[in-house]
Symmetry: C2
DNA sequence: TATACTAATGACTATTCGGTCATTTGTCAA
DNA sequence: TTGACAAATGACCGAATAGTCATTAGTATA
């Protein structure tokens, strides 16, 4: 398990330096100080490695931002905190960002294409949720345009982190973008992005989480989870997936228990999605 | 010369389907219906091909947009026309966009990295020029932020063209984004991007056009340019580069003559940059 | 028709890659 | 010390790649 992490770390360095295709398994194993065979004990193929990496890093990104948005911060600082969490993530993981937000070669691998689009859709939903909390009915038609603008701000300003090491004032950046978002939300009158359009672009990937795949995910995370309140919570939730009896508040509480463990935030996120919480 | 274009066209198709690294020279020649040897008569290496392609497509993109911005359109429609030209380009060249705006593998090739950053800097300058024309002194500190927002809008909304074939109303889109830009420009009070920051990010590539390299570029374009007013104009400009005597209006007129030929817009653009016109 | 020249071919080479597997090394309990 | 098991190795394989070059096809001139 530690070996896997080592490989993923060193591979990330190399991918961000040279790109995925241009990096050989040999190079990865050399940088890790292990043999080629050892690599294939951890990952069945080179593709499985990149898929694992995408999952790992995008899951963290999505859950980090979701955490902020779902928190009960007061309305006047939530936008600032939202941007702060995003650019903090870019700052801490500039290498990942270089690889996963730019290397669209990944998109030619069908399996990954679906996944990346799905994570993007998750992010869109999170943003829309935030906008609904912030502005309720004030935004009717322009909701999706504001969302596109926010994503545009992210893409444009993230370059500062990805292509240079200039030290930046995250607070100031977050405040500046929060103001811009506020302005766009308050003044836009000509919408372009419709709900239908959003549906169309996300077409193949708005599939619900299936019960089996969720159970499998939970099962997977129960291994190597020592006896604790958190483990018990996850076990209870597993039964609830098969046969729901608890009320929403109880379910939410159990999910929050799990969310406390950083490595388990993703399961928490998916379960919450499953129960519509 | 025709062969080169055929190769670039077919290569673009393949790159946009599979990515650069994953496409072999064999595949390209097969789709062109030529032999492998014939490929190497047109391009010395596979890298030279991708570099030529980047030059070709990004040059057109930059000059197209610059054309609109420098035109004497009235202020109230220039923003709309600006966005229209950009998304028209995305629509017409969705394949190029897929390759050159997304495949950042290209950035790992040092030579290309410089070039792409340089084209990006050109685009930034064009946008800043437009903003200065539109708002003069009204934007002091927020000029560069507005520019970043515009680039963000481009990045975010271009996805609609790159990842789907949904028919879209370009006029409506341009109007919507022009409004957003207007709103941001009028209301932003908290700047983040400073002139210094822009300098830093574009550091290695704000080198002036050198006289020699410009002469070389002109020489290159004089070949295969039949006798005509345009050719004479270019020859006159060549002498002017070596020994400037004409006044700005005359220079500008000569440059405009050349700009009429679509294939020569790039030379025109570079000469104009050289003379600060 | 003969000659001279260019354009085009595709078999070939040297190299590199992802992935395998017989073998070795390390680590326990007995 | 022994033996049994798992972890790790790296030589090796087939496939694929970028790039070369002796040869051929095509064309224009005399």
């Amino acid at each position: 398990m530690l070996k896997k992490q080592l490989i993923m770390e060193k591979a990330l360095e190399l991918f961000s330096e040279q790109g995925f295709e241009a990096t050989s398994v040999q190079q990865i194993t050399e940088r890790c100080g292990i043999s080629k065979g050892a690599f294939y004990l951890s990952f069945k193929t080179k593709d499985e490695l990149i898929i694992s990496m995408v999952e790992h890093y995008l899951q963290r990104f999505v859950t980090d931002v979701d955490q902020v948005v779902r928190s009960s911060l007061s309305k006047d600082i939530i936008l600032v905190e939202f941007y702060k969490s995003i650019f903090q993530a870019f700052k801490n993981n500039a290498a990942s960002a270089r690889v996963f937000f730019n290397e669209k070669v990944l998109l030619t691998k069908k399996e990954l294409f679906q996944k990346i689009i799905a994570y993007d859709a998750d992010m869109s939903k999170t943003i829309i949720y935030m906008l609904e909390q912030l502005y309720q009915d004030e935004l009717h038609e322009t909701k999706y345009d504001v969302m596109y603008c926010i994503k545009g701000f992210m893409k444009s300003y993230s370059e500062l982190f990805i292509f240079s090491d200039i030290p930046l004032d995250l607070d100031q950046l977050a405040k500046s973008l929060a103001e811009k978002t506020e302005i766009i939300a308050r003044h836009t009158t000509i919408p372009f992005i419709t709900e239908e359009l959003v549906q169309l672009t996300a077409e193949p990937c708005n599939e619900e989480v299936s019960q089996e795949s969720l159970l499998e995910l939970i099962e997977q995370h129960l291994d190597g989870f020592e006896e604790s309140i958190e483990r018990e919570s996850l076990e209870l939730l597993k039964f609830q997936v098969e046969n729901p009896t608890y009320s929403k508040p109880i379910l939410k509480g159990l999910i929050e228990n799990i969310r406390l463990q950083p490595d388990y935030r993703w399961v928490a996120y998916v379960i919450a999605k499953y129960f519509n919480i």
